[in-house]
Symmetry: C2
Subunit: 213 residues, 2 copies
Amino acid sequence: MNLNRRAVLAAAAELADRDGYDAVTVSELARHLGVQPASLYSHVRDRAAVLEGIHELALGELADRLGTEIAGRSGREALVGLVRAYRDFARERPGRWAALQTPAGPSTVESADARRLVALTWAVFRGYHLDEGELVHATRLVGATINGFLALERVGAFDHRSPDSDVSWQRAIDVLDGALASWPGDVTEAAEAAEAVTEAAEAIAEAEREPHA
Amino acid sequence: MNLNRRAVLAAAAELADRDGYDAVTVSELARHLGVQPASLYSHVRDRAAVLEGIHELALGELADRLGTEIAGRSGREALVGLVRAYRDFARERPGRWAALQTPAGPSTVESADARRLVALTWAVFRGYHLDEGELVHATRLVGATINGFLALERVGAFDHRSPDSDVSWQRAIDVLDGALASWPGDVTEAAEAAEAVTEAAEAIAEAEREPHA
DNA sequence: GGTTTCTGCCTACAGCATGTAGGTTTGAGG
DNA sequence: CCTCAAACCTACATGCTGTAGGCAGAAACC
């Protein structure tokens, strides 16, 4: 059989996606791999280590997807890509996604994949030219909304009322994009408002010039 | 001892808040109540029923809090109240909150408490005079953001970067309030935009009248 | 008042999961 | 050929879930 840590964690992730996160037990995993439960303890410390391994694996895969989705994009396009990366991942890999919802251990937090994911996320928001100090709030808001939406979809909170949640996602993206473009307490907000007023003034001046037909 | 279903579920909820949701086992519960594990099975069908019972209990308590927080309030005030109700509940009763994050059984979905919670939530959003068809998207967005924020706080996603999450909450409320006040695709949006332009035009006309000093 | 029934908790046990201790096979290297 | 280490094994201690059936006290009925 010649297992190793990587193979065990890959099997665990598959199991999580197929049968649910809670179905990831040492026994079930051993059955899947065709070995005795006790044999797995030479490759992983304990069950918690298996779950943390799935978390780390998922983090890297999510970062990969995010990277390809936002490559060459900025502003709203990038935001749409970011949302899609998360949503698709959560739907296609429910077990891995569930693993990401659990608190991460210190080693996971400091992993290269975690850093990569954070860097990619921040790249999306830099495209909106927010104040540096406001960036963190913006990322938290968007992250919270995405996570919350997926969580509520998962528990079926949206199943009992039409229309289906795709439309709501669209609205959510519109709102977030709008909020990022004119962020409260941001210097660019005042500038853009001023610009809007200028444009309006020009339009009005134009209209004044040609008397109403 | 003379236990009953209600007392068992109350003890289970306390246990969940104190020792964590996963610590709610039949054995631990029995220890707490000073009886043998098997004795509890005359009051609750199985462990899953205990967890679902916590869910129902929490739903009612959350509805109570929400009711008092939004009583006599509307618009932004009501939104702030709603957010506070959820956030305080999640912090003070982490085990009950965790129970609410699990899929609800059919009986819970149709319970009076569930209906009450939905009705109270909708009351908050009616204060923003959205299109009837857009109300559902607005509630979903706000619900998602609150849930997501609390989830990310719980797993410690905000712990590794300053400033602390209170400021981010404030920003999130600002954004949501703003979004609700000028909802995309809403009839009132066009009206308000038009009004803004009119005001701007007046201000500019005023400025033109007095030559630059 | 005595007997029956019901209630509420009990003991005993089967089944399955985690994790430890220590044994057996197999192949590489001196 | 002998040693050693890797990888998997069996056996077992412990703990949890859920079922079966027993027992004692209170309530209800005759």
